[in-house]
Each structure stands twice: as structure tokens, then as C-alpha cells.
């Protein structure tokens, strides 16, 4: 029933209006369901539980559905058929994954979401999106394979496929942990996020930002709540992206680093594992999807009108796009946790939960990260695109559908900030938490305003790093540079032969090198020749392998 979005628009070439109706319908259907619900099913004598709704999955499903509606409104203007099919498929598979109660269903929907999100990237057809999509696909499939292996081993150990809490006590569980971690952008496994997201179209990136990573957060919360490693993984995740985000030029890439940072907060909440902390994670995921989408939407609008989101090329757009600027500022205020906006009431829970457990060092790291968020997302993104040096760029305001989507999202951000109990009522666990104490409000305002003061001091004195057209290295260097150099050296060596066999030899050699290239290089043959039908083939092969395994 809610799997319907999965299949819905596969064959429909008609449009965007249908794309909006579909998630709205799904949302209505969803809201009719009770908050505790489970559907059991027996398949070949294995107990499956394809749908399992409890407090945790309920709220994630809810926000995913809302996000699906917002994305559909935002992308209403588009005419890219592949993208229009892929986005609802992606949203639907994400929702289905969240509702999965057993590992098999989880795996199938996990893979569908990976494939459909890759399609979204490829649909963009920009100069870089083919290769970026290929790298993205490789990493997502890797995550899927780890999940599959983990599931099989887990089944061997326990004879159960139910998706419940796991402890990190067996190889199976570690594999699953890493599978989730990849999709959640754990440190060193994170770079696919910054690599791929900026290469999707304006609407594509908004869709991408909402689902995959939060899906991983949900899975981690379900399976590994209270795992201590997550505390430190999360802490690192909040801290390191900030540095990268400050020096990054492409503003959508800045937002991708910022997404990584927000995920860190959620991961820390999972690591603590108390009902309060898990509430914080769920609340933060809810708010983050909204304000991240808002920020990506505003940057997407800029991309749509101007053609770039590179800070070095932007500036002074507030005059031409006042509404977009205003929405962007609302998103920036939300992510910085300014009081009266959504981030304040959700991040506050997590910080409080950390403090309650006495983890003072962790708490300081999170506080540090909170100040940092203001620096890149809160100030940099709106300032350098809409204000700062006016380059004389003039354009029309964003299209009406984008404004509508942004408006609704912005209203939600403010609404949650002003009336947090509305959100708190939706959370999985009951709790007593009051974000608007004098203490909390004033100290947060101090933190933010003084960080802002720091910005002003730097900028006015010319110490703030300039926005330059450049590329910054990150952990993807390890698999992009060395392997390519090896491959090109190999190619060169073979091309230096001078006999009449040269052509034949280099062709064979090229094939050999390409096979090495295939899964690792940015310009592999696979990227050139891939089509949607080949993807369907791969999916069906993967699924039949899964079935085969279960027979064995």
C-alpha cells in the first residue's frame, strides 16, 4: 500500500502534477494507520515482517512522506523524465525501508533506494554527474553488499530475520554496522556525500538530501542504540566537516559537509541511547530534513536562475531574489539553532541528553560544532550568495512552485521553533523537556552572536578567507588519484609498442586495464555505456542472487 510510490510513476510520462498527488495520497493513507502496527508474512517458511511501525519508524515515515510532498512541489517545473520517475521511486523506497521489520525487506528496499538515487544523479547529465554517479553507485552497492553479508551471517547465527536491536558482538553485526555507517557518512566513509550531491540537478539534490542519510540514521537508531562507539564517531562527524565547509567554494558542497555535521549530532544521540537522547535524534532528523531541504532548495533556485552555486561567482542576489534570500536565511537560522527556529528545539535535546550523562568532553565538542555550524551554513551560505560583493548579477525570482515549497518548509521551521510541543508529541518516547528556559535561550544567543561577531571581525579586517575557484582534497583522493595514475601508466606502457600487432595488443591491454578501471576509475566503460535497462538487469540479478542465497 505504501509501497505504491515505489511503482507508481514508473511508466507515467505525464508529469509533475501526478508527482505531487502521489505522496499526498500516501501521506493521507499513512495517517490513517495506527501508530503501532505490524504486518507479518511467511515466505518459504521464513518469518518476515515487511511492515513494522512503532514510535521510531512512525516519525521517520512521517517526515519522509512530508519531504516527498515538498520535493514534488519543488520539482514541479521540471521536465526531466528520468528524474521525475526516480525521485518518487527513491522516496517510496526510503519510506518502505523505514517501515521494514525484517532484514530481507530492508535489504531489498535499501538497494532500490541506492539505485534510484543514482539515477537521480545521472539524470542531471552534467559534465561531472556521470562519473560522480558511478562512484556513488559503487559505494552504495558496497554498503548493500555489506548489509547482505551481514544479514546472511546473522541469519546463520540466530535463525531470525527480524530487524531489532543488535549488539556489536559478531562479524554479522559489524558488517551491518558498517553498511549503515557508509550510508550515514561516517568519517572516512563520508566523501561520497560531498562528491555526488552537488552534481545532481537543483531538485535532484533536494531529494537526495532528505532520504539516504536519514534512512541510515533510522537504521542505526533501531539496531545500535546505546553503542558507545557511536558517541565518538558522531563527535568526529560533527567536528571535521566544519573545517572543510569553511574553505569550500561550491555552496551545495558546503551544504553537503554541513549535512555530515548534522548527522553527527544524530549519531551521538543514538550513541547515548536513552529515551531522551533517541527522542532528540528523531526530533533532530525531523527538523534537519526540513531545514536542509530548505537550504538546498534555496541554493537550487540560485542554480536554476544563475547556473552556478560557486560562492566565488555569486553575490548581491538579494535584490533579485528577495524571497529566496529570506527563505535561505530562515533555513540558516534553523540550522544554527537560533531560538524561535526548529534547530534550537531539537539540537537542544541532544545536548541536554549528553550533559545529563556527564560526558563533558563530548558536550564541548558538540558545542564547538554548534558554533561552527553558524560559520558555514548560518553565515557563509546566505551571505556569499545573496549579499557580499555584488557582481552585478541580476535574474528573476525563483519559480512559483519553488517558492511555494520553500515557503511551506520555512513555515514549518518557524512553527516548530515557536511551538515545539507540536513536534514533541510526535516523538517515539514521552519526555519532559522545555527548550525555552532563560538559561538555554540566553546562553545559546551568546554563543551565536559572539560567533557572528567573530565573522564580522574577520571579514571587516580582511582576514576572512576569500572564496576562490578551487578544489579541496578529501578522503576520496585515495581511490581517485592513485588508481587512475596506475591505470594511465599501464596504458602508456602498452601504447609504446611499435609492431604491426600494436593495435591488437593495445586493444586487449586496454580491455584489461579497463577491467581494473571499471569499478574504481572515474571514467569507466560502465559509466559510458550504462542505461536504465542495464540497471534493471542488475537489480534483477541482485534480487535473484538474494533469493538463491535463501534457498541454500
Amino acid at each position: 500500500m505504501l509501497g505504491a510510490p515505489l511503482l507508481g510513476l514508473l511508466s507515467d510520462r505525464l508529469r509533475a502534477s501526478a508527482a505531487v498527488v502521489l505522496p499526498v495520497l500516501a501521506l493521507i493513507v499513512f495517517l490513517q494507520l495506527p501508530r503501532e502496527f505490524s504486518l507479518n508474512y511467511s515466505l518459504f517458511a521464513y518469518e518476515l515482517r515487511p511492515i513494522f511501525i512503532d514510535g521510531l519508524s512512525w516519525i521517520f515515515s512521517l517526515i519522509f512522506l512530508i519531504a516527498a510532498v515538498l520535493v514534488a512541489i519543488y520539482s514541479w517545473h521540471g521536465n526531466n523524465r528520468l528524474e521525475q520517475i526516480s525521485i518518487p521511486l527513491y522516496a517510496g523506497s526510503a519510506i518502505a525501508t523505514v517501515m521494514a521489520g525484517d532484514l530481507l525487506t530492508l535489504f531489498i528496499c535499501w538497494e532500490i533506494s541506492a539505485l534510484s538515487s543514482t539515477l537521480i544523479i545521472w539524470a542531471n547529465r552534467s559534465r561531472y554527474s556521470r562519473s560522480a554517479g558511478m562512484r556513488y553507485l559503487f559505494i552504495q552497492v558496497l554498503s548493500g553488499l555489506l548489509l547482505l553479508l551481514g544479514t546472511l551471517l546473522h541469519f546463520q547465527d540466530t535463525q531470525s530475520l527480524l530487524f531489532t536491536a543488535f549488539a556489536l558482538d559478531s562479524l554479522a553485526h559489524w558488517l551491518i554496522f558498517f553498511a549503515f555507517g557508509i550510508k550515514c557518512a561516517f568519517p572516512l566513509l563520508h566523501n561520497w556525500l560531498q562528491d555526488a550531491y552537488p552534481h545532481a540537478s537543483a531538485s535532484g539534490t533536494v531529494a537526495l538530501s532528505a532520504f539516504t542519510t536519514k534512512l541510515a540514521v533510522y537504521c542505526l537508531a533501531r539496531a545500535f542504540a546505546g553503542t558507545e562507539y557511536l558517541l565518538w564517531i558522531g563527535a568526529v562527524m560533527t567536528a571535521f566537516p566544519i573545517f572543510f565547509a569553511v574553505i569550500e567554494n561550491d555552496l551545495r558542497r558546503v551544504l553537503s559537509y554541513s549535512l555530515n555535521n548534522q548527522l553527527g549530532f544524530m549519531v551521538v544521540g543514538i550513541g547515548i541511547g536513552t529515551p531522551l537522547a533517541l527522542n532528540g535524534t528523531a526530533a533532530h532528523a525531523f527538523c534537519c530534513i526540513l531545514y536542509k531541504a530548505l537550504l538546498f532548495m534555496s541554493m537550487g533556485a540560485v542554480l536554476h536562475r544563475i547556473g552556478t552555486t560557486k560562492a566565488s561567482e555569486l553575490g548581491g542576489l538579494a535584490k533579485s531574489m528577495p524571497w529566496t534570500a529570506a527563505f535561505c536565511i530562515i533555513g540558516a537560522a534553523s540550522i544554527s539553532a537560533v531560538p524561535l527556529f526548529s534547530g534550537f528545539v531539537s539540537k537542544g535535546i541532544i545536548l541536554f541528553a549528553v550533559a545529563e550523562e556527564g560526558y563533558w568532553l563530548l558536550w564541548l565538542v558538540l558545542l564547538f560544532a554548534s558554533a561552527g555550524v553558524l560559520g558555514h551554513s548560518g553565515i557563509k551560505v546566505p551571505f556569499f550568495s545573496f549579499f557580499a560583493h555584488d557582481q552585478g548579477l541580476r535574474c528573476k525570482e525563483a519559480p512559483k512552485n519553488m517558492l511555494l515549497a520553500m515557503g511551506i518548509t520555512a513555515a514549518a521551521c518557524i512553527g516548530i521553533g515557536v511551538a515545539p510541543d507540536l513536534l514533541y508529541a510526535l516523538l517515539p518516547n514521552s519526555m519532559e523537556f522545555h527548550p525555552y528556559t532563560w538559561d538555554h535561550t540566553i546562553t545559546q544567543l551568546q554563543l551565536l552572536f559572539f560567533a557572528g561577531l567573530g565573522f564580522v571581525l574577520l571579514y571587516v579586517n580582511g582576514w576572512y578567507p576569500a572564496e576562490i575557484r578551487a578544489l579541496n582534497l578529501d578522503s576520496d583522493w585515495f581511490y581517485r588519484k592513485p588508481l587512475r595514475s596506475l591505470a594511465s601508466v599501464g596504458l602508456k606502457a602498452f601504447n609504446n609498442s611499435s609492431t604491426g600487432w600494436q593495435k591488437l595488443r593495445s586493444q586487449t591491454a586496454r580491455k584489461l586495464v579497463d577491467m581494473a578501471y571499471q569499478s574504481n576509475g572515474p571514467r569507466s566503460q560502465l559509466a559510458r555505456g550504462i542505461t536504465v535497462s542495464s540497471m534493471v538487469l542488475i537489480v534483477s540479478i541482485l534480487l535473484s542472487c538474494t533469493l538463491l542465497f535463501y534457498y541454500l
Partner: protein, 74 residues
Amino acid sequence: MPAKSKSVKTLIIGLYIICAALLLVEFFYHRHGHFDFELWFGFYAGFGLLAYLFIVLSATQLRKWLQRSEDYYD
């Protein structure tokens, strides 16, 4: 560096005033906190400022190692 128009200057002065006000407010209400260091005068203010400065200045240094031209991977 941007041209410093009058409105920008007003904004900056406004910022200074708000910051000063936020510090003064500390004297007027009873502070609670989980940790001892939270209760130092101006802790959050100072932490925010220092954290921000640290991040931006060290990121600028980090840039020296990490920066490449845009077509580095091509």
C-alpha cells in the same frame, strides 16, 4: 573587503550592542548548568567567539595543504 555603506555600519554597531547586552544580562538571572565551567562569566560568549575564530583561521591553514585546481581529477 566590502564597501562600508552606512547601513552596514549601523548593523555592525547594532551587533556590538547586542553582544554587550547579552553579556550584561548574565548578572540578572540565576544560572543553572550541568557542568562547573558553564557557570563562568561569559563562557558561552567566549566559547562561541573563540571556536569560530579557531575554525576559520585553522581552515585557512588547512587550505594550504588541500587546495588544488578545479580540474585536478580530470
